[in-house]
Symmetry: C2
Subunit: 517 residues, 2 copies
């Protein structure tokens, strides 16, 4: 068995059975193996940033490892931004990076590059497979490193001759490592804080913002009066009717500081202490209020939900507060805007929907207007590198073919990885994409003032506006094989959204909206 086949079979054996990728010559033996190993599904992306973002989305929803296949240093570079996001999502992604044959690297051929150096930024685990005999075991080791817990990006560099040489063997499946149990002493310490009566806020992230964790947190809050907040950009948050609604910490530092104002104890549950997204002249970076003490209930490798259950028991909480019933806003009418779009989404969001949210400034009204919709998952831009929403939608749809996916995309961000639409069309993924076409990098318009760059004029603003020329997302979507419409009112938008949810396969709605900034 050649090394490439041993590697692919070992990935499959360890539960990694989808590979997103854009292969090149050095990966041809991996690709050829797809016919011999039908258990491995290959999903082609037209750009590596789509493949890496899809792996992130897949891992978030599958709760298992995703594989991505990349072509040397430049291919890894193209996928780096979404691997950065995946790192922040703390999900398991195995990046297989093809390289020149071992003996070819000395010649500095055009595509030669230092793959380890590129990978280091996003991938704590990096290994170069040295022989075909080792390839299978290396693949299993990569999966083991990726799944953690916590999940991370693991990079396995695969020289072409390792892939094409004989002598490979399939590795034993990786044994699943359970998340850590938080010690009783830690639970008791936090319970003591809660019992003290000092104003306490639980900041929930990672596994704590899934339904079970949120329910336990709500019981704690009811019993102790503690405040609850979710991290600003959760990888996957369960929400909607029947799930306790927990506000996310705001992106804007000023608003986040208001949310945290008065807190004497901040308890971190599978997340990190809050910091400002960017620095602003004269404003603090650290958002923990002065004099507030920070404690950790559960870290990245811990079972956060179990820790919250234990804490709920320790503080003697009763049953969960009554869950809010489904409560949708009415069907919107009038002008199309970020508000009426959010209303239409809240009105129509199907039960079990997966929302990939990269709406940025246009998403302002979404949390409020969808909180009473039937239960759904909400996936956010974890690492701040734009161009993540459409690829994450691709991966989520591959992971959960039976669930509708809604991608909410700012126009500027959509254009980073628009090739995602083609993969949606090829794989006939049930993804409805809404483009918020406000025709500018609106967030930069806002940030320009916040950083005090007030002397800006026409030439500066031209670098923040993406029109003229106006971008026609209907044309773009159709060019990539996705049917698309551009409604001109809130009613027409709601009709289009309803049709898109009703029909299988991908759809795009180009919503031209006024910018909020």
């Amino acid at each position: 068995m050649i090394g490439g086949e041993a590697l692919v079979r070992s990935l499959v054996a360890s539960g990694c059975d989808v590979v997103f990728g854009n292969p090149g010559t050095s990966e041809m033996h991996f690709v050829a193996t797809l016919d011999a190993v039908p258990e491995m599904r290959g999903v082609l992306a037209l750009f590596e940033g789509v493949a890496t973002g899809a792996a992130d989305g897949y891992a978030r929803m599958r709760e298992g490892p995703a594989a991505v296949l990349l072509h040397l240093g430049p291919g890894l570079g193209n996928g780096l931004a979404n691997l950065h996001n995946a790192r922040r999502s703390r999900v398991p992604v195995v990046a297989i990076v093809g390289d020149h044959a071992t003996y070819h690297q000395q010649y500095d051929a055009p595509l030669e590059s230092d793959i380890e150096t590129v990978a280091r930024n996003v991938s704590p685990w990096i290994r170069r497979s040295a022989t075909a005999a080792a390839a299978g075991a290396d693949a299993a080791a990569a999966v083991a490193a990726a799944v953690g817990p916590p999940g991370q990006v693991a990079t396995l560099i695969l020289p072409a001759d390792v892939s094409w040489s004989d002598g490979g063997s399939v590795a034993e499946p990786v044994r699943r490592v359970e998340r850590g149990v938080v010690p009783a002493s830690t639970v008791e310490r936090v319970a003591g804080i809660l019992r003290s009566g000092a104003r306490t806020t639980l900041l929930l992230g990672g596994g704590a913002v899934r339904a079970a964790g949120l329910r336990a947190a709500a019981r704690i809050a009811a019993a102790t009066g503690a405040g609850l907040l979710a991290e600003t950009f959760p990888a996957r948050m369960e929400r909607g009717a029947g799930i306790p609604a927990v506000e996310r910490l705001a992106y804007l530092a000023e608003m986040a500081m208001m949310q945290l104002d008065g807190t004497r104890h901040l308890v971190l549950v599978d997340t990190t202490a809050p910091v400002s997204f960017f620095a602003y002249p004269g404003k603090p970076s650290n958002l923990v209020p002065d004099g507030c003490e920070v404690s950790v209930l559960a870290g990245g490798g811990d079972d956060a939900s179990a820790a919250l259950e234990a804490l709920a028991a320790a503080v003697g909480s009763g049953a969960a507060p009554a869950a809010a019933p489904t409560s949708r806003p009415g069907r919107p009418s009038g002008a199309l805007g970020a508000d009426t779009i959010a209303q239409a989404i809240g009105h129509l969001l199907p039960e079990g929907a997966i929302v990939s949210d990269e709406a940025n400034t246009s998403g302002t009204f979404l949390p409020g207007l969808t909180s009473g919709s039937p239960p759904h998952d909400w996936l956010t831009l974890t690492g701040g590198a734009i161009g993540q929403g459409l690829p994450v939608a691709v991966g989520a749809a591959v992971a959960c073919p039976e669930r509708p996916v809604l991608a909410l995309e700012a126009d500027g961000s959509a254009l980073y990885t628009l090739q995602s639409l083609w993969t949606m069309a090829r794989e006939q993924l049930d993804v409805t994409t809404v483009i918020f076409s406000n025709r500018r990098y609106a967030i930069l318009r806002m940030e320009l003032a916040r950083v005090g760059a007030t002397a800006s004029g026409e030439r500066a603003l031209r670098m923040l506006d993406i029109a003229p020329p106006e971008i026609d997302f209907v044309s773009l979507a159709q060019g990539l094989g996705v049917p698309a419409v551009r409604p001109d009112s809130a009613e027409a938008f709601a009709d289009a959204l309803e049709r898109a949810f009703a029909e299988p396969g991908p759809h795009l709605i180009d919503a031209v909206v006024p910018s909020l900034f």
Copy 2:
């Protein structure tokens, strides 16, 4: 003066007066400066890979430094592949990478990353600007490093607070360093080889494939019987009627070995010894024939053209051979294919055109059918990382607004950085783009067999084909503001090409062609 303004003014003072970019919050003060410093032109790209490739194309044609503005590690990552290509082009590119404020980096905010690590792969020179007072001098040092000679990518990391703080001052302009003069002893040694009568081939690259160098080389060849070859992927080659035609070394190792067969002395002129692009089982990576001796006439920092003139004098060459007159192929007719398209281009290519060639397999017929067209520049995919052709066309058109630019793009490669079309539309660049829509990664179809991955079947081939669904480049171009047509015959293609050349501004022709592989 704030550091950002000192930096921008220092760039301008040293001849770096165009910046391609996609800025974010940390670059807002740089952007705001564009109004205070109108000498700096900002060109917005919708994706960083467009910006970095445009900088490469600009530097190739301007023969001066290009600047590119990127947003932290992920923005640099998005631009990395085309910086890899720029590194191989050996052109001066100053990459300004905005970073968090110095005091903010400790907080590991979502976009925090190790920018130096990402940059290291493509940029031998990396500096982090530490204070506003140093920013101007740092910018000048970056330009000096970038221009060399030889040119290279120089990365200047600019923390947000360095940019927004007062205390900056404008640096003195960088003094131009002339290329090195090759020692007489080196010229004489190579002349001795040529006089020896042993079969000798001059392999020309870099500055040696400009008109003056090619003319000197032709005189040497005429006087000594030496063979001439150009490197496979020159950054900028002058060619066409009146310029000695020199064949490029083939991409396929088997063909390159035939071109070099029998050579006893290989003389490198501003290029490196030939190696196979990829490794193939059982085939050599080093393409220098057994027993052939390799000598260097001129290296990367040398004046290659002057070295060739000196060599021509040393071997007592006479006047240049008579230059071939313009000799265009006739207007094509019949079916549309890679051959008839090349014929139409040869028939119509305007004098002074700049051709950005990423036609890949579909470009097979181009060299032969355009060699007698009026003089023009030919820019190739120097580093092998696809998605370079459209951005390079953008940069070339910005550098040379008076010259027509022709971008020849394989469909698969075009989709990597298609956002280039929008910048062509916004800046109204005179670029005609021809998409060779063969609807597959044809080169991988060819490579699959060459690497011996013969067991591949339908599932493997599906990873190499980019249809279904078929991509409609007319829709895509129109969506990005570029008028486009899809001719259905060679005649219609020639008509469309003629119209596109005649009208200013960008145009796209979607040429659906049979794949050659």
